[in-house]
Symmetry: D2
């Protein structure tokens, strides 16, 4: 079982969140690859049981570089069914479009027939940082990694 955490990041904030989520996954003893989105070949998506994508909040929707990979993934439409999807974002301000950015990624995963999960305690749609991730966001990202890893084990483990 393997999970891919992929991100687009200019300031490093989204990258930092990605690293923490990847660490959380590994703490649950699931192999995790961490890649900048331009380093992901669309064929690789098939190799993972879970995909977690993170984008800065640009105009309330995932970054173009990430949407490009999503659009290219139509080549494998139908082959990602039943995989687990997650999303996170780094935003400039509260109410700045971070929730809709996360949801834009989750909606894309749903169109692929993937499974997504909310959170009753942490940020509900996925981890969201305002500016540089602080201690609280650190903890949220680790826990989000744990959670997705546990769900992958539950669904794909025997």
């Amino acid at each position: 079982m393997k999970i891919l955490v992929s991100y687009y990041s200019r300031t490093g904030n989204t990258k930092k969140m990605a690293e923490l989520i990847a660490q959380g996954i590994q703490e649950e003893n699931i192999t995790c690859d961490l890649k900048e989105i331009s380093q992901v070949n669309v064929d690789e998506l098939l190799n993972y049981e879970g995909l977690i994508f993170g984008s800065p909040t640009y105009y309330g929707v995932m970054a173009a570089e990430m949407k490009k990979l999503v659009d290219d993934s139509v080549k494998h439409h139908g082959k990602l069914i039943g995989k687990i999807g997650g999303a996170f974002s780094s935003s400039g301000m509260m109410g700045g479009g971070g929730e809709t950015t996360i949801l834009s990624i989750l909606q894309a995963f749903m169109v692929h027939g993937m499974i997504v999960v909310g959170d009753a305690v942490l940020q509900h749609y996925g981890p969201l940082a305002i500016g540089e991730p602080d201690e609280e966001v650190h903890g949220m990202c680790l826990k989000y990694g744990h959670k997705i890893a546990v769900l992958v084990k539950k669904i794909f483990g025997k």
Copy 2:
């Protein structure tokens, strides 16, 4: 393992969809209760592994009667974590707010920490009918029932 299919319906279209989804669930040998939303006591939500809610498309958001139950469910916040959620809607026209109505229900389930799933082939966010459900929508509702039932078995079965 039990699934609740609950609906609000004035014309009978959403109710018809609910009946078909319930039938699909039962065909997978999962017990399914089918209830009009006003007949659901909020405490009952705890008894199910899966919750599937359907609302007519009223102003692009689930009906007030359904939101009322969702708001009351705060009483059990944290106790629905990990359950499976699904949603469907009956709409007056294509592009009439049906997708956002379905998503309004799924977002509420995500805030509860529940698991939701998209579809790569059928309507992506959940079954959606325009007016009276036709043969195609019949098939989609049955398949949606199958799918949610299979996911409940995978996650909650041993």
Copy 3:
């Protein structure tokens, strides 16, 4: 020209935001009525050039009490075309569904054929507070009131 600011509030946070937005409107010399949502008769909606609704963030969607008025407004469907709509929310935490709550209101206004407006500097979809509105949110609410009032004057003034 008149604007209605209506809100649902249990803790008083959303009410406080409503009062500030109403103050901002009045500072632009536009008459503003401020009403708790249950005090609004659906027929009154016709009397205003602008409608600004605020709800606490409950499960990522406007409160049931507000959706009830929206559902009842179908009685006047077509008569709100071209009016100005705005929305705001008070939420428990950042990433807690506040953006989707605001958008649920704006989507309802769009289904009515109304005009809505974003903000390039303040919170993009509408004012959003986390917990008790602080000084920064105070300023945002006042500015939002100004902005909607100015737009009403531009479209409905002669």
Copy 4:
């Protein structure tokens, strides 16, 4: 006063809708430029009072090529405030993510502080075609062009 209608299109369906919307605008005696998205220089956006963007429905979000221009437009953040925005989409099936694709464009425009408008009669968030635009969609696109043109005249005319 000028409006830009821009689109991304592979099959020609979204392009056909763009042409009809442009025709509707011209019938209201407003100058309209019609451009494929890759032909739009980001600096040009400043020259228009209205921007109407159309994308195929790819994974429930505007196409990467369109998001690229939106991301680049950050260069002019704050300079599009108060302009009118519109959106449309061509989708493969009803419930296929067309509404969320339109909303992804409108949300981007709102982050720019732009004004958007729904429709009480036609498709509520913006014109949406399933496959090749039929006669009904033709009429909707023309009317949408009329409507945006009239709003531009109301707000920017003297």
